[in-house]
């Protein structure tokens, strides 16, 4: 699982450097599905600060936070893992 997460984080970083927002979202989503990742959440925050033009919490922060909360909720209630 750690290798899979590392692989997905690598794809995520490639997406960030290459400017491929769709690849970032997909890789970030699957990384969070495997395991909660503060690295992905932090990069989302940094990207929103980077590209947004009025500092309002944005797309990437919201997307990754919502995914994390949903995944944790379903993981706990459906699979009884924390």
């Amino acid at each position: 699982m750690k290798c899979l997460q590392a692989f997905l984080v690598g794809i995520f970083i490639s997406g960030v450097i290459g400017g491929l927002w769709w690849l970032m979202l997909v890789a970030g989503l699957f990384t969070i599905l495997v395991r909660r990742s503060y690295f992905i959440l932090s990069i989302g925050v940094i990207l929103d600060l980077w590209f947004s033009y009025n500092g309002i919490p944005g797309f990437y922060t919201g997307f990754f936070l919502v995914i994390t909360i949903l995944v944790e909720y379903f993981r706990k209630h459906l699979f009884w893992t924390s």
């Binding site: 909660r36 503060y38 033009y53 009025n54 797309f59």
Partner: protein, 267 residues
């Protein structure tokens, strides 16, 4: 004998606390950034130059490897084509100079106040691509450079790509005309076929607009900003018409590749 259960419950509570702390810190960070008018974003953008220079270095490495393996004959053919293209562009640039001089002369004759054409300030593009869904570029700003919010930003060939939205100490944020939900009033066509309409950005250099079905618009028509100066945004790429609709949907695309643009002009 419930040590394992207690331990897992403790871990679960700790993880929840860490997550809540992270969310609170994020909200505080964005709130501070908003209240201080982007000073936190300014600090975050400091490593932009270093990180995106990695992209440029990788691009140049790949290009050099490709060149090494390219066949000689292919290179020779490409060289011939490039020489022809350079000759064409030299003529085009010469015509352009003549037109600029003629423009200045005509403006002087008409008694215009500003007879000197403002070519603007050159700026480096630090992050390219207009990351969805913001549709923004980050450009450099020198200490003495006077940018103002609303200044127009032009790419190669004086094509309008956006306007300055936010100014930091050493950076400025450009909102692209093709940014999602960005609306721009434009003129399409030429001469008697000139039509005014509003285009809406959908990202990645593309814009769409709906116009009456009887409007005389053709694929390839130039799209210009509705202003006193002739400022080109792009060209009409595609027109979609359905027999049941009273409108036709036109798609406009900028000729500038937003993923490879390196320099822009601000004025």
């Amino acid at each position: 004998m419930n040590f394992h259960l207690q331990n897992s419950q403790h871990n679960s509570v700790t993880k929840k606390k860490v997550f809540v702390v992270f969310v609170v810190l994020t909200i505080v960070l964005f709130g501070t950034n908003y209240l201080t008018r982007g000073s936190v974003a300014d600090v975050v953008r400091t490593p932009v130059r270093a990180i995106f220079s990695i992209n440029t270095i990788v691009d140049s490495l790949i290009a050099s490897v490709q060149q090494t393996f390219a066949r000689t004959t292919t290179l020779q053919k490409n060289q011939e084509k490039l020489k022809e293209r350079i000759a064409e562009l030299e003529l085009y640039a010469l015509n352009n100079l003549v037109l600029v001089a003629e423009n200045e002369e005509l403006r002087a004759l008409l008694g215009e106040e500003n007879t000197v054409l403002d070519t603007g300030t050159l700026a480096n593009v630090l992050s390219r691509g207009g990351m969805y869904p913001y549709g923004t570029l980050i450009i450099s700003r020198g200490v003495d450079t006077q940018y103002s919010v609303g200044s127009l930003v032009f790419g190669r060939g004086d094509i309008l790509i956006g306007k300055i939205e936010e100014i930091g100490n050493t950076y400025a944020t450009v909102r692209l005309v093709s940014a999602p939900t960005e609306k721009t009033t434009v003129l399409v066509g030429a001469g008697e076929r000139l039509t005014e309409l509003t285009v809406q950005g959908i990202g990645n250099g593309n814009m769409v607009a709906e116009v009456a079905r009887d409007a005389d618009i053709k694929s390839g028509d130039p799209v210009m900003l509705a202003s006193r100066e002739t400022v080109i945004l792009g060209t009409v790429q595609d027109i979609e018409t359905k027999s049941i609709d009273a409108f036709q949907r036109i798609r406009v695309r900028t000729p500038i590749n937003l993923h490879t643009v390196r320099f822009v002009r601000v004025r």
